[in-house]
């Protein structure tokens, strides 16, 4: 027999109801809360294996430092950012696959392309196809954003650019050349698109600012070549007054170490655009004094307390020096995070509108600011300059800034030459 309550509700019904409420309170309510705090997933495609694995490691840390600070401050209305990082093995088709996987299977709402340039072009097409907000954080190839045919409204570049570096390097080298009467030049750059473009543009701008400069020879080591004897012999035989090189990473370290054995630095001035990055500076066994280099990233340039603090914070968190890729990824992530706060949305179009033309406050920008130029969606006003090495930390103590107005004027001229505008 079933006892009924005065309102006609049975004991079993009451027990069932109580059980349901209890279940809802233990399963249902936290579920609602969990849905509200669902992380915003950001997918990073990068290289975590092979010769350039350091690129991925520094890129991940650069992005993570910003994301951790954002999450610690409460995220986006309680929603934290989750960074998912995958290794493309430096293969464009794998980068494209991972980018699609992030969007289609992992539920990523934003892409960070921290891969090589070839992969960046592949990911640009994914951005075009899917319309997802994409930040290219490492590709320095100018055409990625300069060529209007490749333009994607939701894709941006937060990295330095080849044409900017060439103008900055050419103008600095011309000044030194005029002062020291360095007229006979040679190039020694890696034999692939970046090396050939950088070499060509550097000499183009050197000659523009210093009419007497003459290129007497060029030497093209293969990418990841271990032995530079052939190139060094050619340089020593040609007796140039100055050498330009855009070798980078382990290749540059090997080249500098082997050049020291041949006593190259006593016989010629060397302009190596990629030395001033801690990965290279700390890897060279005996860093020669007086090599000219562009500033990739230095905690002493810009010489501000904010930059030194940012560098120190990074070193404390990760127990290693920040690199050029660190700030580029930090900057890209910060543009995204600022846009998220501004729009309170993860909609790619809204975020892109917020990022286009925006400025962010960061210690590695000119006057503490970086700008994402509207129109071609690329980064400008990052700190760039040239200086000479010394053997100990701070390695490149006196970096001379290059004027951004000149860079932008000449960039416009270059774009016209390339028929981009």
């Amino acid at each position: 027999m079933t006892k009924r309550a005065p309102n006609g509700v049975g004991r079993r019904s009451v027990l069932k109801g109580t059980a349901a409420v209890a279940a809802a309170s233990t399963i249902g309510f936290p579920f609602v809360s969990k849905a509200q705090n669902k992380p915003i997933k950001v997918g990073m495609v990068t290289v975590l294996s092979g010769r350039v694995a350091i690129l991925g490691s520094a890129s991940q840390k650069g992005a993570q430092i910003e994301i951790d600070a954002f999450n610690a401050a409460g995220g986006l209305g309680g929603r934290p950012i989750e960074l998912i990082v995958r290794d493309s093995k430096a293969k464009p088709e794998e980068a494209a696959r991972i980018a699609r996987e992030f969007i289609n299977s992992e539920g990523c709402e934003i892409l960070l392309d921290a891969d090589t340039s070839a992969a960046a072009f592949a990911i640009q097409e994914i951005a075009r196809e899917t319309g997802i907000l994409t930040i290219h954080t490492n590709s320095e190839t100018s055409s990625l954003t300069a060529d209007p045919k490749l333009h994607v409204p939701t894709a941006f570049r937060s990295a330095r650019q080849g044409i900017h570096d060439a103008i900055a390097g050419g103008s600095y080298a011309a000044e030194v050349s005029k002062a020291k009467k360095l007229n006979r030049w040679m190039g020694c750059s890696p034999d692939y698109a970046y090396g050939r473009d950088s070499n060509k543009l550097f000499f183009e701008y050197l000659k523009r600012f210093h009419k007497d400069a003459e290129v007497i020879g060029e030497s093209w080591p293969k990418l990841f070549q271990p032995d530079y004897t052939e190139q060094l012999t050619k340089i020593l035989q040609s007796k140039p007054q100055a050498v330009y090189s855009c070798l980078w990473g382990g290749d540059l370290t090997a080249f500098i170490d082997q050049s020291s054995i041949y006593n190259l630095f006593a016989q010629t001035e060397v302009f190596a655009i990629n030395i001033a990055d801690y990965a290279v500076l700390t890897a060279i066994k005996n860093l020669p004094k007086g090599i000219h280099s562009g500033s990739r990233y230095l905690s002493t340039f810009p010489p501000t307390k904010e930059n030194a603090d940012w560098s120190a914070g990074y070193r404390k968190k990760f127990n290693e020096y920040p690199l050029n890729w660190s700030w580029e990824n930090s900057a890209g992530t910060k543009f995204v995070l600022d846009a998220l706060k501004k729009t309170n949305s993860t909609d790619s179009k809204k975020l892109a509108e917020a990022i286009s033309g925006a400025s962010i406050s960061v210690p590695y920008g000119v006057d503490g600011k970086l700008t994402m130029r509207a129109g071609d969606n690329t980064l400008i006003n990052y700190s760039t300059g040239w200086g000479q090495t010394i053997q100990k930390d701070p390695f490149v103590p006196d970096v001379k800034s290059v004027d951004w107005k000149m860079i932008l004027d000449l960039e416009t001229e270059w774009k016209k030459t390339m028929k981009y505008i």
């Binding site: 696959r97 289609n104 698109a193």
Partner: protein, 340 residues
């Protein structure tokens, strides 16, 4: 191979395609369709390599020549000329036949390691050409700017599902065509040349011509795989013509097996799944892949489908007292070569 078996296999292919067409509605998410598009590209590529390795005994190390050629020629045609996709498709297949004939005429005269290395040399020649001919190919940045996909016959390849149908349709059609080739008298001639190239001329077979035809046919299918890949990434990259892409196809047929027609397809599934899962878990993909290859090479000593086929054959054979004629047949079927 009779007309009725062609009809039967065609009906099976249509049924398989119908099932594939329905699968995206059962398996949700675009991750599945992406996987199948890549599988179509690599499946056709690996199976076409097995036409040479498994059936003709021609161990090509440079089959990526055609994969890269397919990617680049299809991409360049679509970017340069206002043509439809079927026209670019046919033009690419045509180009691969021409290139296959010229390269094959040089390579197929050679045997074993000499053949392997000359094919590899031609592949690296294409790779060098791609790197050096920057104004046309984009050099080491690849063919950028996307591949136009004008609609044709109501098919819009910028739509995920349409690209999936197109790719899986090509996969099924290519597998059907290759299956019929290996089951045809031509296919059996290939096996004969593989097993005894010296005896074949005494039976009136022009070994050079047959080997050249096999090389050209395999190349044309390899190029179809490349075309699908170029649609997947909407571009073409020098990696697609690098020797490592040939290495991947060799891994696929090693993992899947060379004696069963669908072995390379199974290998392609295994290698792609392995890549996708391992990449999610660790950055030591190379180490894991190496261990798996070792397991197959030293453990099974053959591909998965070869192992399964041998197991099945063993189970079919009575364990005690087989009749002498049955034992002879079993012994004849033992060699692990394709199609036996």
């Amino acid at each position: 191979m009779t007309r009725s078996s062609l009809l039967r296999d065609s009906l099976i292919a249509i049924a398989v395609f119908a099932v594939l067409a329905l699968l995206p509605f059962i398996v949700p998410g675009k991750g599945f369709t992406d996987f199948m598009v890549r599988l179509a590209a690599f499946g056709i590529f690996a199976t076409s390599l097995n036409l040479l390795v498994g059936y003709a005994g021609m161990e090509s190390f440079g089959h990526g020549l055609f994969f890269g050629l397919g990617c680049y020629s299809f991409g360049l045609i679509m970017q340069t000329f206002p043509v439809s996709i079927p026209v670019a498709f046919l033009a690419t297949v045509g180009l691969s036949i021409v290139v296959g004939t010229v390269v094959g005429a040089i390579c197929v005269r050679l045997n074993e390691i000499y053949f392997a290395f000359v094919t590899l040399a031609f592949q690296m020649l294409l790779h060098s050409l791609i790197i050096a001919w920057t104004p046309i190919t984009g050099g080491d940045q690849g063919l950028t700017g996307g591949i136009p996909r004008p609609p044709f016959l109501g098919i819009r390849l910028d739509d995920y599902y349409h690209l999936y149908l197109f790719s899986t349709g090509l996969l099924v059609a290519s597998l059907l065509a290759m299956y019929h080739i290996v089951q045809s008298p031509f296919g059996y001639t290939l096996r004969m040349i593989r097993d005894n190239a010296a005896r074949a001329p005494f039976l009136g077979i022009n070994v050079f011509r047959v080997r050249l035809m096999a090389y050209v046919i395999a190349g044309a299918f390899g190029a179809i795989g490349g075309m699908i890949m170029s649609l997947f990434v909407s571009g073409a990259f020098p990696d697609f013509a690098y020797w490592t892409i040939s290495g991947e196809a060799i891994f696929m047929i090693m993992l899947g097996g060379i004696t069963v027609f669908l072995g390379p397809m199974v290998g392609a599934v295994m290698l792609l799944l392995l890549n996708d899962f391992v990449t999610k878990m660790t950055t030591h993909y190379g180490l894991v892949l190496g261990l798996v290859i070792l397991l197959f090479a030293l453990g099974l000593r053959k591909g998965l489908m070869d192992f399964a086929a041998d197991l099945w054959r063993d189970r079919q054979t009575p364990t005690s007292g087989p009749r002498p004629d049955t034992a002879a047949k079993t012994a004849a079927s033992a060699p692990a070569r394709a199609g036996e």
